[in-house]
Subunit: 172 residues, 2 copies
């Protein structure tokens, strides 16, 4: 009687053990960390994204004058710009601000987001980079998260593998 139960249990346990050994454990990657102190990193360049006109030809209420992003690089990312190869841990930041009208021009208004791109070879789906978008001045509210393949990498993919999916160059 006992043996009739023990046999299928053993077979199941053995199968489970076999599966556990052949199927690699699902890789749970840590979240992309908030880039502490990035405002003192090297400034790479700045660029403006114009306001996208709505259906009625009106500028968006949120940012009628468009947005500016200031790019920053940590020391490892600077090495990447120099050599063409971004080492593990290289971090690039796009610090986005809504543009506001000022006398004769435009100035930085409220922060829109802090976009992070961190070199991490484990993240093969997104070109060996981790992406995140921290909302406004928040260090915890994440807008990209697991969606980063579509929301970040689908665009960065266009920069091409030969540029390691980085659009920017370090301006002199």
């Amino acid at each position: 009687m006992k043996l009739r139960f023990l046999l299928p249990v053993c077979v199941l346990a053995f199968t489970a053990l076999l599966l556990a050994q052949t199927t690699p454990p699902a890789l749970v990657l840590p979240e992309v960390p908030y880039p502490d102190g990035f405002r003192r990193w090297a400034h790479v360049s700045s660029a403006i994204v114009s306001a996208k006109m709505g259906e009625a030809g009106a500028p968006p209420k949120e940012a009628p004058h468009g947005q500016i992003h200031n790019l920053y690089a940590n020391e490892l990312a600077l090495e990447g710009y120099r050599t063409g190869h971004f080492p593990e841990g290289a971090v690039l930041i796009a610090d986005w601000f809504i543009l506001e009208e000022t006398r004769g021009g435009l100035k930085q208004g409220p922060r829109k987001s802090v976009d992070v791109m961190i070199r991490d070879a484990r993240r093969v789906e997104t070109g060996g980079w981790g992406f995140e978008n921290f909302d406004q001045d928040s260090r915890t509210k994440r807008n990209a998260g697991p969606k980063s393949v579509t929301s970040c990498f689908e665009c960065h993919r266009r920069a091409g593998p030969e540029r390691e999916f980085v659009f920017s160059t370090l301006l002199p």
Copy 2:
């Protein structure tokens, strides 16, 4: 005969000596130095100056999309932003670029100038700051020089003595 010549010579020499002691020597201030390595200093903020339309309502050929300036501060200038008092040697840079059209926005084109503002109490005429404008990528071609009272300080004066003639604030 000899004495008749010697006396006026002595009087002249004595007068000259007296003048030399009472009139301070004309203060020849050194030129404002080129700010070596400023591209790795802290980035303060960026702002855009729109293209000024000409008489015929046409944008200027040189910069039809306006210009951007990226502001940088050395360590002493960062102290100035924090405390409200810019110590001697504090340097602020406005790195000017002509804006160029890109897909959906504007990006930094060629450098227009590197504007320098250095804290120097001796320069009383210009609010205790030395000003210079280095042309494009040149470290030697100076556009402000002795004209800096009118070309730089006349505008910075408007920021007011309570702000020590600094317009910008250090953005978070």
